[in-house]
């Protein structure tokens, strides 16, 4: 269950890869949609911690274009519903995430991302 809320918090951490290492790009993914309970307070509280353009871009890679390119000033319920779906209900089950800088591939299998590095890649 790599959800976009988590994807938004992951950066490449391979040795020496310190710039342009976020957001990771999805590759060959299969996704599942699962309902999650809605909590407006949580979403409002989480908004400041999101990198908005990265979220919008990642959602588009997964075929969801419901979010506006710029984070709106007015946070209404309709917007929060969309945000809820994008952050919490789209699960990437298989595929990979690729670093835009060093091209390191982080595989996703059974909904779990493999973010481990080999010994020589650890910074």
């Amino acid at each position: 269950m790599v959800r976009l809320i988590t994807h938004n918090l992951l950066a490449c951490h391979a040795k020496g890869c310190t710039s342009n290492n976020f957001p990771l790009q999805f590759q060959d993914v299969s996704i599942e949609l699962r309902d999650a309970d809605f909590n407006a307070d949580f979403l409002r509280g989480f908004l400041p911690r999101l990198e908005w353009p990265a979220l919008v871009g990642a959602a588009r890679q997964l075929g969801d274009t419901s979010l506006p390119a710029e984070q709106p000033d007015m946070i209404d319920d309709e917007f929060l519903q969309k945000l809820h779906h994008v952050l919490l209900e789209i699960h990437v089950e298989e595929g990979a995430m690729v670093c835009p800088n060093c091209k390191h591939v982080y595989p996703i299998s059974n909904g779990i991302p493999n973010m481990l590095l080999a010994e020589h890649e650890i910074g």
Binding site: M1, V2, R3, I5, T6, N8, L9, L10, A11, C12, H13, N21, F22, A36, D37, F38, N39, D41, F42, G45, F46, R49, E51, L88, Y106, N110, G111, I112, P113, N114, M115, L116, L117, E119, I122
Partner: protein, 222 residues
């Protein structure tokens, strides 16, 4: 009383590769339960558990705080553990998000000063350092306990990252044993990072003298 998470989906075969909750797990659950009101009042948005094993602790945190009030991230180096963590979350209706990673690895840069509750029940048993290195490489059951010199080889690395992870009101809960040098850990966190450590709970369990240490930022005005 918050019930211990339902682990009935995990079988003896799982516990050949994944740490089965034991006294060290339970003392951490007890410490969290004692602090339940304070933790709820933090309105945590991000909980991060390092080394989640069966997933019991993160799931329990989710039961205290509510399944929708926070994001529950959990890392482990052991692929069996990340799988069990996912299943335990699901079994108990807490969406715990497992990541196969060492310590906070790929989360560190984005979670700078963002983690409200950080949890670690580390491999704390003193072993020789080759044994700990090998256990880290193998990423199987020995990685649950083999802690190298003073049992601190793995914990030491995380201790140097805690301040950069914790949010302004964030808290860190660490399981330790006497041989880890409880006072040394607290002194160092205070001197190097200005994090105040205290013993949240301690008890004897068989041969082990177990502690849960709780670290907080100093209030700005003291």
């Amino acid at each position: 009383m918050i019930p211990t998470p339902d682990l009935s989906h995990l079988k003896a075969a799982d516990y050949q590769h994944v740490y089965e909750p034991a006294e060290d797990t339970f003392i951490l659950l007890d410490a969290l339960e004692e602090d339940a009101d304070v933790l709820r009042n933090l309105h945590p948005r991000i909980c991060l558990e390092i080394g989640s094993g069966s997933g019991c602790v993160s799931t329990f945190a989710g039961k205290i705080l509510g399944s929708t009030t926070s994001l529950y991230l959990a890392t482990d180096i052991n692929p069996h553990a990340t799988q069990c963590t996912k299943l335990t979350g699901r079994q108990n209706k807490v969406p715990v998000e497992p990541l196969l990673a060492s310590l906070a690895g790929p989360l560190r840069s984005r979670l700078r000063h963002s983690v409200d509750i950080l949890l670690f029940n580390p491999p704390y048993v003193p072993t020789n350092s080759a044994e700990a290195d090998e256990a880290q490489q193998d990423a199987d059951i020995a990685g649950a306990w083999a802690g190298g010199q003073d049992g601190m080889a793995i914990t030491d690395i995380l201790l140097d990252q805690v301040e950069s992870l914790l949010s302004p009101r964030g808290r860190f809960y660490l399981v330790a044993v006497k041989q880890n040098d409880i006072h040394g850990i607290c002194r160092r966190m205070q001197e190097q990072y200005g994090l105040k450590g205290e013993v949240a709970l301690q008890r004897r369990a068989g041969r082990e003298h177990l502690y849960v240490l709780r670290f907080l930022r100093q209030p700005a005005d003291t």
